[in-house]
């Protein structure tokens, strides 16, 4: 069966290396969401507006690149009151800092369909290094990049003054993303 194995391996290499792309993101199938806790109550939110540039070659994952720009003004905190509040100065200060950006600096394969993406996340003029585990999944018409990471809001001064009280709004915000790259 050695020949069959070699043939299969060869076929796999050919197939996977052909999956190189700088594809188009399908925003209808993509989402950036988050869960924050106020008084230990989990509340769901998200950023409907963002742009992502993804360069990925499953044959050469190390060469992958990701650039994501989030329109903070589009924030959905789960309530109208919250949406108005978090755009104000103590929170995101959207008027002065309308975008949050993530620019990858390295992509490492962690195993089949798993990557470790490191990069710089900038929110409200504060930049922090961030390492995020990402899973890749082939779906009809493209590839899905998915992951979750904890964001400590106070590192980016999201919620200043009385809002920095983490008893009321927890520091730890779980961010979830799903980015669908079409055409692979």
């Amino acid at each position: 069966m050695t020949f069959a194995r070699i043939a299969l391996l060869f076929l796999t290499i050919v197939l996977t290396s052909s999956a190189a792309f700088a594809g188009t993101v399908d925003y209808k199938k993509s989402r950036i969401g988050f869960t924050f806790r106020q008084m230990n109550v989990p509340v769901e939110g998200g950023f409907p507006q963002f742009t992502a540039n993804i360069v990925f070659d499953s044959g050469k994952p190390d060469a992958g690149k990701a650039e994501i720009e989030v329109d903070l003004g589009s924030i959905d905190t789960g309530s109208t009151d919250g949406d108005t509040e978090v755009k104000r100065k103590p929170w995101f200060n959207v008027e002065s800092f309308p975008k949050a950006t993530f620019v990858s600096t390295s992509v490492k394969p962690l195993g089949p369909d798993r990557l470790q993406v490191s990069g710089t996340l900038t929110i409200k003029g504060r930049s922090r290094e961030l390492t995020v585990p990402v899973t890749t999944k082939r779906e009809a018409g493209g590839t899905v990049f998915e992951g979750t990471f904890p964001l400590l809001r106070l590192q980016y001064a999201i919620g200043e003054g009385p809002w920095s009280d983490t008893e009321t709004v927890a520091d730890d915000v779980q961010v979830r993303f799903r980015i669908f790259v079409a055409g692979t």
């Binding site: 008084m39 989990p42 789960g78």
Partner: protein, 197 residues
């Protein structure tokens, strides 16, 4: 006659007819729930006009915790009420008033359960789960739904107004029985209170 409902009462004329009070458990639950409802009502009226702040989030949580507590206590009260016969009303009370009292008490129980329930549905529809004392998360009773949330705001408010109306009637009746009819009705629910005979 159940022992818990039996209590003799002596006033400055010598021996009087026996006053039968509610049981200690029933009296304790009644006043505890009364205080919690009053507090929750006042807090609820106050909190809705607050600007969003950490304080507002705290007060909302306290209000919800109190609501859950009231619901649980009322459930216990109801179980107690069903299994323990309340003391008889004074013989002087006409039939129609007995019926009116029974109806009012039934409505009170229904509203005491419906008001916190409507709050839970509202919170759930608003996408805010209720986390009792910040520890125990109640299940989502409904999915997040903005229209239902708006509807439940009105329902919660309307049920509260109804509860307020019946409570005013309830208190007025108790006061009238005590000061005008001078019968046992209020004293049955108030420890150490003597009827003004």
């Amino acid at each position: 006659m159940p022992e818990h409902a039996l209590e003799s009462h002596r006033s400055h004329g010598g021996h009087r007819a026996r006053l039968r009070r509610y049981s200690g458990v029933a009296i304790a639950l009644h006043w505890l729930v009364a205080v919690l409802i009053l507090g929750s009502f006042v807090v609820g009226t106050y909190m809705v006009n607050l600007d969003l702040s950490p304080w507002k989030l705290k007060v909302y949580s306290w209000h919800k915790w109190t609501g859950v507590t009231i619901f649980l206590l009322v459930a216990v009260r109801l179980a107690w009420r069903v299994t323990h016969r309340p003391p008889d009303l004074p013989a002087t009370i006409p039939e129609w008033q007995r019926h009116a009292a029974a109806i009012a008490h039934t409505i009170l129980y229904l509203l005491m359960l419906a008001v916190p329930l409507s709050g839970w549905v509202m919170s759930s529809a608003g996408g805010f789960p209720v986390v009792y004392f910040g520890v125990f998360q109640l299940p989502h009773i409904v999915a997040k739904d903005k229209e239902l949330f708006e509807l439940m705001k009105s329902v919660h408010f309307a049920l509260n107004k109804a509860l307020l109306a019946v409570v005013v009637l309830h208190v007025a009746a108790a006061v009238k029985h005590h000061y005008v009819d001078r019968d046992d009705v209020l004293a049955r629910m108030v420890p150490y209170l003597k009827p003004r005979r």
